[in-house]
């Protein structure tokens, strides 16, 4: 799998959510019945290419049917810096909310996986690039505190470009905040499984996502701190073909496993069984 240029990045994250019943796979160019794709974990039934999964689809693909209960706090982004780029920050948030029907870039709930109770959270890349601002930081911490309170494992599925620029240092410090709360899980023997997907980068990679007791990379994930362009511009280095891929992370010791999307649920179930008392 080649990650040679930005285009690929865009293809990976493209979401053909129009009314059409059909969808074109960019990998094998086949026109496929969209429903079949959605039912197949958004994997191309022809060539096996992974299409983009929304946070909600992601969670549903991993948990027992109808076991999800939203436990997120009722909070939405503030605008502490009165940030305006091409549009005001809160306008951007409103649009993202309308577009995704989410309050911010994270879904958080309790659920069961093969009957085992967990707290599970997933980032929504369509919501301002899955960026971590004050809301996501708080929701992740809230999720970990619920895991502590209920003595359940905490599972976080990352899909993010990093910290949310529009909240400035508030966003930066969410890295420290989530890492500090994560330490409480360690102290109290609560399992934290981090799942990295396409893409897990920047401030999210450099904080909570890299702190899993077990770190699983989804096959095809993009995992890294700095962007390819930044690295090339700063260093002039030629990037290897597998740079920041799942295989790169595995061979360099950054993640425990690479798991294909089809097997992710079974893997989680198996992994959980080691950490839960015989039931």
């Amino acid at each position: 799998m080649s990650l040679k240029d930005r285009d690929y990045f865009n293809v990976k994250l493209e979401r053909q959510d129009d009314e059409s019943l059909w969808l074109k796979c960019k990998a094998c160019s086949e026109l496929i019945f969209k429903k079949r794709v959605r039912e197949n974990n958004n994997i191309c039934p022809k060539c096996g290419e992974y299409f983009f999964l929304t946070a909600r689809e992601r969670i549903e693909s991993l948990i027992d049917d109808k076991s999800f209960t939203d436990i997120s706090k009722s909070i939405i982004a503030d605008d502490p810096l009165n940030f305006i780029d091409s549009k005001p920050y809160l306008k951007r948030i409103e649009e993202a909310q309308a577009n995704t029907e989410l309050a911010d870039a994270l879904i958080l709930g309790s659920a069961t996986i093969n009957g085992k109770g967990v707290i599970i959270a997933a980032m929504e890349f369509r919501f301002v690039g899955g960026s971590m601002g004050s809301v996501m930081g708080e929701q992740i911490c809230h999720g970990m505190e619920e895991a502590l309170r209920l003595n359940r494992p905490f599972i976080l599925i990352s899909s993010s470009g990093g910290a949310r620029m529009q909240e400035g240092v508030f966003s930066l410090f969410q890295m420290a905040k989530t890492s500090a709360v994560r330490a409480k899980l360690s102290e109290n023997k609560i399992l934290f499984i981090s799942i990295m997907t396409y893409p897990t980068t920047g401030g999210v990679a450099a904080s909570i996502a890299s702190l899993g007791d077990v770190i699983i990379a989804e096959k095809g994930a993009l995992i890294g701190f700095a962007g390819r362009r930044v690295i090339q511009n700063t260093t002039g280095e030629e990037l290897p073909d597998d740079f920041q891929t799942d295989a790169f992370a595995l061979s360099h010791g950054s993640v425990d496993r690479v798991v294909s999307r089809e097997n992710l649920r079974d893997e989680l179930s198996k992994l959980l069984s080691f950490f839960l008392e015989a039931e």
Binding site: S74, I76, L81, G168, F170, L172, A226
Partner: protein
């Protein structure tokens, strides 16, 4: 900053008059006093109205004092330690033992380098994974011996290179964040120049976070922000303003504890004065933090980080 050149010219003239005065042939002391007062006023005015982007440039000023300039002014007997015991010795991250008023402290500091050779050796102050791991190693050493930890932050950011990614820079930074949140000794972080994003934060989780007056601290560089959000290099100054990266703004926002005044015109105009201010602040805060038990210390630190963030609470439906 055009102002800077005008002010520099005035400063030079005053020095010239001082030399004349020193000859003893004419008494110019009252004129000099007047000019000095004028220089002070102009400088203060000029720096007060600095745009945020100018402040960024000041925080990167080539003459700005670096960690190794401050350390001998503030501490006694700096004894540098080296290496992460795993892979290498990052010269952009200097660590070591020092004395602050008889008390042993551990210093962890980012260092940019002054000469071209030194800049290269120190990767322009961009720390690499081996640097963050070295920092953590000595912080754990400090914890073992109950030495407070003082970090001096000054980096454009963590070094973005292939080797950094191979060495799991994400994991190195994340690990420092977690470990520093639990370090059982008083910790003080001071941004002395550039506080460049995660690369700065990775030695910045502490009981006190302070900034020098002209230092900056940001989630992303104004250049990077302008490129991503505006897709326009002309918007760098606007991005700098939007990011809220100055000491005064961050103090207003409650994200830092204190602003440490610099000498008039910026720390590079008077290292001794700025260092003295820094030292006073360190001693004062360390004295308070040392009065706390470990439990109190960690509880306060945890509360600080647990509650960082600004959001709106939706009314229950």
């Amino acid at each position: 900053m055009k102002d800077e050149m005008t002010l520099a010219a005035l400063r030079e003239q005053i020095n010239e008059l001082r030399r004349l005065n020193a000859n003893g042939e004419i008494d110019l002391s009252s004129e000099i006093l007047l000019l000095e007062e004028k220089l002070r006023r102009l400088t203060a005015a000029s720096y007060a109205k600095l745009a945020d982007w100018d402040r960024v440039k000041l925080s990167r000023h080539p003459q700005r004092p670096y960690a190794l300039d401050y350390i001998p002014e503030i501490f006694g007997n700096f004894y540098e330690l080296h290496g992460d015991r795993i892979y290498g010795d990052d010269r952009a991250m200097i660590v070591g033992l020092a004395k602050l008023k008889q008390r042993t402290v551990m210093i962890v500091a980012q260092q940019k380098g002054r000469t071209p050779e030194e800049k290269k050796e120190r990767f322009f102050g961009m720390s690499r994974p081996q640097g963050y791991r070295k920092a953590l190693r000595v912080m754990k050493l400090a914890e073992r011996f109950s030495f407070p930890v003082i970090t001096l932050i000054d980096t454009p950011g963590a070094y973005p290179g292939i080797e950094s990614e191979e060495l799991n820079i994400s994991g190195a930074i994340a690990n420092n964040l977690q470990e520093m949140s639990q370090l059982k000794v008083p910790t003080i972080a001071i941004v002395i120049g550039e506080g460049g994003s995660g690369g700065a934060l990775a030695i910045g989780v502490a009981d006190r976070i302070m900034m020098l007056e002209n230092a900056t601290y940001s989630v992303i560089s104004p250049e990077g922000c302008a490129a991503i959000l505006w897709r326009d290099n002309g918007m760098i100054s606007e991005a700098a303003r939007a990011l809220g990266l100055t000491a005064s703004r961050l103090k207003e926002l409650g994200l830092i504890d204190e602003i440490i005044p610099e000498s008039l015109g910026g720390a590079h105009t008077d290292l001794q004065e700025t260092a003295a201010n820094l030292k006073e602040v360190l001693i004062r805060h360390l004295s308070y933090l040392s009065s706390l038990s470990n439990d109190e210390l960690l509880k306060e630190r945890y509360a600080r980080y647990r509650f960082i963030g600004r959001y709106r609470i939706l009314p229950k439906e």
